[in-house]
């Protein structure tokens, strides 16, 4: 997978998610409009409005607000992806916390197809890494693919951190289904599978020896060129 394919896949997932948000908005507004029309018509039409429907329309308007926030978050993430794609190969550094957060938004829809939930733990301050944001997105998508190909059905949390050997991402597996052990095995055996980009070799290793829930995605060390 190259940067272009990574970008295309994340964009497709984000647009799918955006269309779902728009679909919810359209139906919520449509239902509120349906009820308002029946009420305006009065008489039997108004009396036939199912009980609780007026309260439901208030909930729907709240839902519209939530979906607008969802769509706005996707738009921000797509903006980031566009900027990262444009500056790929020329950017000197990125904030890993921000990249992980954007990745989770972009890949959310794709994750749902595999019963996966992606989370990015907030960081109090930026975790700078001397890597191109697009390459980090590529690494995160590679981690995602490993989990999905092993069956998915697991919660994956990313947390940007700085260890003494450099910055990276703590990849933690949360609640999962029957395939969780297969995901663990796949991640444990994937260290050498991570792509080598521009002289940087990303490596995925257990956080501590014997730990099956936490992995360290090393991004700031291991320069190969």
């Amino acid at each position: 997978m190259d940067r272009s394919e990574c970008s295309s896949r994340l964009l497709a997932s984000a647009m799918h998610e955006l269309r779902n948000a728009l679909a919810v908005i359209r139906e919520c507004v449509g239902l509120a409009s349906d009820v308002a029309r029946l009420q305006a018509r009065g008489g039997e039409a108004a009396r036939n409005i199912p009980k609780g429907m007026t309260a439901r329309t208030v909930q729907d308007l709240d839902e519209v607000q939530r979906q607008v926030s969802r769509a706005s978050e996707i738009a921000d993430a797509v903006d980031f992806l566009g900027e990262a794609s444009t500056s790929a190969g020329r950017s000197a550094q990125c904030d890993l916390a921000r990249v992980a957060s954007v990745f989770c938004v972009l890949a959310r829809r794709r994750a749902r197809a595999f019963h996966m939930e992606l989370l990015a733990e907030a960081s109090n301050e930026p975790v700078w890494c001397a890597r191109d944001a697009m390459d980090v997105l590529l690494d995160l998508l590679a981690v995602f693919d490993i989990c999905a190909s092993a069956g998915g059905d697991v919660q994956v949390c990313f947390k940007a951190q700085r260890r003494k050997e450099g910055p990276g991402l703590l990849v933690s597996l949360g609640a999962g289904g029957e395939t969780k052990e297969m995901v663990v095995s796949a991640l444990a055996g994937s260290g050498s599978l991570m792509p080598d980009q521009g002289g940087w070799a990303s490596r995925l290793v257990p956080w501590v020896s014997g730990d099956t829930k936490h992995f360290w995605l090393s991004l700031g060390a291991g320069q190969t060129a």
């Binding site: 497709a12 647009m15 799918h16 998610e17 955006l18 269309r19 779902n20 728009l22 679909a23 919810v24 908005i25 359209r26 139906e27 919520c28 449509g30 239902l31 349906d34 009820v35 029946l38 199912p50 429907m53 439901r56 729907d60 839902e63 979906q67 829809r109 749902r112 197809a113 595999f114 019963h115």
Partner: protein, 132 residues
Amino acid sequence: MGLKLLLADDETEYVDTLAERLELRGYEVKVVHDGTSALTSVENDMPDVAVLDLFMPGLPGTKVLAELNRRHPGLPVVLITGQTGENACGDGPAQQAFACLTKPVDFSDFIRIVSDAAQSRAGAGEEESSHG
């Protein structure tokens, strides 16, 4: 009672609200949120039209469609997807559906297509009867 519809989509807020709008218009609607439940629902209570999200977790809409075509070849299936591009409705199993719609779907278009799908089934049934 109007047409009997099965709606299968994992986007719960979307499909639940769509169902309420349809019920206001007299449709009888059954909602499920995954492909396996869609197959079970059809076996238990045959709808006039099945509306499936193309990309549901677990058993995706295309596989549900293939299975429904095998078990109940006369049941019209309408696919809905949030995905765009060539891989959405363009080719493959999605071609076996009566129609494939892209979200956000215009409600009046949805009603029209579902009605057409139901009529296609009724028409096919009459044709079978006249030949039988």
